[in-house]
Symmetry: C2
């Protein structure tokens, strides 16, 4: 509230963050511009003027999600010289996320990959670029782990990268599905155990 008693008007950055959270919760097709107006307090015509409509707004929200949310999750893999410990920290951090209320939302990128890609080449391109970036980070860490002798050198780093990207999609898809959280945690433990097996730390 300002000193005059009127609610403070959210600035465009705050409005975009609210729109991002709304799309994350409801998905693209079930969210209308009216929903965005109700959620953000933004002016309907202002939204059209700034973003050209729902699709333009969604595209900007997706880019914000990629930087703000996925950027934070991917940070362990984006540092200096990441290898097996960073692959493990990357996955291990999702244990808290799964039990967080936001964990039920899964991942906006993963949901969008399923919901929107087939309908819209622009959005499909964004998803493809995001998955390619994530795959590159996972692949580089796997290749470095081999070079350091942390995982067996006869494991193919491309196949490992494909496996780990699919594991992220599986985790996020499972997290968004209506199942008990301990099942999602069980899946995550299985993925971490697979990393242990790559490292020869478990015979299971």
């Amino acid at each position: 509230m300002t000193r005059t008693g009127r609610p403070r008007k959210a600035n465009p950055g705050e409005q975009l963050a609210k729109a991002m959270n709304l799309f994350w919760r409801k998905g693209y097709f079930d969210t209308s511009i009216d929903d965005v107006v109700a959620e953000t307090g933004a002016n309907r015509f202002g939204l059209y003027a700034r973003y050209g409509g729902k699709r333009g707004l969604f595209d900007k929200a997706l880019q914000l999600y990629r930087v703000e949310v996925m950027g934070r999750f991917l940070a362990p893999l984006a540092g200096t010289d990441p290898s097996l410990p960073e692959l493990q920290s990357f996955f291990a951090q999702f244990a808290d996320f799964i039990d967080d209320p936001r964990g039920h939302l899964g991942c906006l990128m993963c949901t969008t990959a399923s919901e929107v890609s087939a309908h819209d080449p622009l959005i499909a391109g964004r998803i493809r670029a995001h998955l390619a970036d994530m795959r590159r980070l996972l692949r580089d860490a796997a290749a470095r782990a081999m070079a350091k002798g942390e995982i067996a050198a006869d494991v193919d780093s491309d196949e490992t990268a494909d496996y780990l990207v699919g594991a992220v999609l599986g985790l996020m898809s499972y997290a968004r599905s209506p199942v008990p959280r301990d099942q999602v945690q069980g899946y995550l433990r299985g993925v971490l155990r697979t990393l242990d097996r790559l490292a020869g730390r478990s015979d299971r």
Copy 2:
């Protein structure tokens, strides 16, 4: 075509199968009753009379998918005495699916889990029941594989079941995403390799 030259009218069963394929392709929220009418040739009022509207039709389409599509995929696990070989056949069969045009659609149940569950308790209940059935089949096969000595007995069969359900969701989510097919095949090979590792057949 009938002998009179008019297109044969699809019966309700055929119309439901067409509606199922439409929902599978486009998802729930982006499919309108008008789309269903255009796709199936059904009478709009007939659809309302029979199903009560889009949600009732979708619910029936989901049940058809569960029996016809998932039922066929799950068949290896639903036979007599399934254990490790059946777990392997269950996953191995998706190699063909991934390269099939339908492979790009992923799984209607998995897409619906992400898209609709949070909005609709009835649909969430259907998804929960389907995932619980699939988990039970996977868990029973894993427990039997342990009893037969095919996989190490110190692996927890519940955690293995959680892992394998998540692996199916990951596979289907990856298959529906706009990435090259060889990456999805790489993920599938990684899952099959994890089963090999459980069986002690690989040190990787």
